[in-house]
């Protein structure tokens, strides 16, 4: 077990939110077709409120802090918040589209000791990337920013969200990431909007495309190992939890709302009314979430995929039942192994399509 795993175990046992994801704004200078947020900035926390939240997180033991948005650099106080978080000794990651990062910002991020800058890149082709972000010139500006960051030895990770429009470019994006000296992560999940609207999930790749991705060595390493089914489910798994959301991870919106995760919009409290400590330890929603072990999941506890499934309780919650299966993860397990999940079997082996129709995006060129 790695040191981080050990600390995670200790944090889980002590109920410490070791990680927090803080969106400081939902405003954005891009309008990505698959974005799960609206971009209203009304009612955002002030600089003072955000610093107070960050201080509260330090007090309860949070170590990993992701500052995100929207586009966090749209806030004039973004660097002030980053500086404050670093002074409180957080391990800080910044999620940004990077179009506002020039040479000076890259130097500041280096000096601050930001652990990693995480940036979404959808394609190596501007006509594809910019059509997804709806911001002309965005790929060029993002790539320039990555070069500034790398010149300053700032660690960068590129996330490549796969959609029907760009999935054929994933290998080229990975090659570009290698050339730039940055990490590459592939993400086939389109998150429904936080208001429950699932229409954007139609932008996702098809089951056949997902199956292809999961059999591509560049993305998964040893294909045989990655795709081999594991059916042993012991007490250790059944007594555990699906993921860290609400156990060692919390999400905070720009308006002070607290949720288990950005992908788990179950309201747990608001920081303008209660302290973080009070919400984290006493919110009925968090307490209920923490009471749910894998063995309590009515369908997934019986599923042969349980031991290695990436089941997201937030996606299940958005489907109406946090104790139920998450369709997207059932589909991933099926695409990976060819074995239907318990939920798919119960539905008569009918595999719901990952996207139910074509969605047009307008090209910029």
């Amino acid at each position: 077990m790695s040191l981080l795993d050990e600390m995670n175990e200790k944090a889980t046992a002590r109920g410490v939110p070791l990680s927090a994801h803080l969106d400081i704004t939902w405003r954005c200078n891009e309008r990505c077709v698959h974005c799960y947020l609206d971009h209203d900035g009304k009612g955002e926390m002030t600089t003072g409120e955000i610093k107070d939240v960050v201080c509260q997180l330090a007090d309860v033991g949070t170590f990993f802090l992701s500052i995100s948005g929207g586009e966090p650099l749209l806030r004039r106080d973004c660097f002030e918040i980053l500086e404050y978080a670093r002074a409180l000794r957080f391990n800080v990651k910044l999620k940004t589209n990077a179009v506002m990062i020039g040479p000076e910002e890259a130097v500041r991020l280096r000096r601050l000791g930001i652990e990693q800058v995480q940036i979404s890149v959808y394609s190596h082709r501007a006509e594809v990337h910019d059509a997804i972000t709806k911001l002309p010139g965005s790929l060029r500006r993002t790539l320039e920013a990555i070069r500034h960051l790398r010149t300053n030895d700032v660690k960068v990770s590129i996330t490549n969200v796969l959609m029907q429009f760009n999935q054929q470019d994933a290998k080229a994006v990975k090659a570009m990431a290698q050339e730039l000296g940055v990490n590459f992560v592939i993400d086939p999940t389109i998150t429904p909007m936080l208001n429950g609207d699932r229409s954007i999930t139609k932008l996702g790749i098809t089951m056949n495309e997902l199956r292809e991705v999961m059999r591509t060595e560049e993305f998964v390493g040893d294909v045989a190992e990655f795709c081999s089914p594991v059916s042993t489910v012991g007490d250790e798994i059944l007594d555990g939890y699906s993921c860290s959301a609400g156990h060692t991870l919390a999400y905070i919106s720009p308006f002070g709302d607290v949720f288990p995760c950005v992908q788990f919009p179950m309201p747990c409290g608001n920081l303008r009314k209660q302290s973080f400590r009070e919400i984290w330890y006493n919110s009925p929603a968090f307490i209920e979430l923490r009471s749910v072990h894998v063995r309590d999941l009515h369908t997934c506890s019986q599923c042969s995929h349980t031991a290695y499934c990436s089941r997201c309780p937030g996606l299940a919650y958005m489907e109406g039942d946090m104790r139920g299966p998450s369709s997207a993860d059932c589909q991933k397990s099926y695409a990976r192994t060819g074995i239907p999940s318990a939920a798919i079997s119960r539905a008569g082996n009918r595999i719901p399509p990952l996207r139910s129709g074509l969605v047009q995006i307008s090209g910029l060129y």
Partner: protein, 128 residues
């Protein structure tokens, strides 16, 4: 005990948090992770650049843990040397201005659990 005093300062290039008896530290330069045990945490939290190591040992280690001064000092020198090698803290022979640390109450010694001398090395583990 060595005659030359040692003053310890925490580096600015780290992320750190104390959870119970343990302290999790990550270097922002190379992402190396360290986990300090209770004794290491007591020394770490007292590394303010102006308190000599001998005083830290006397006030934070010997008074809290079942260990003699000489044993603790020898172990602590090795421990701080290892951290200094990784740039996690710096050692000087005169007091220095401490790195500004607004972290509330975290600097207070968190050790309450007695440790045997063999446990007093400080670093529980380190990995990249």
């Amino acid at each position: 005990m060595s005659t030359a005093e040692m003053y310890l300062s925490q580096s600015a290039h780290i992320a750190a948090r104390t959870l119970g008896d343990d302290t999790l530290i990550m270097s922002t330069l190379d992402s190396t992770i360290f986990v300090l045990n209770a004794v290491g945490t007591a020394i770490w939290n007292a590394a303010d650049g102006k308190t000599p190591l001998s005083q830290i040992i006397h006030e934070r280690v010997c008074s809290e843990f079942e260990v003699t001064g000489e044993e603790a000092y020898a172990d602590a020198k090795e421990f701080v040397g290892q951290l200094a090698e990784h740039g996690i803290l710096s050692i000087s022979n005169a007091p220095v201005s401490p790195y500004a640390n607004p972290e509330k109450a975290q600097a207070q010694a968190s050790a309450t659990k007695p440790a045997r001398p063999s446990e007093s090395g400080g670093i529980q583990g380190a990995e990249k």
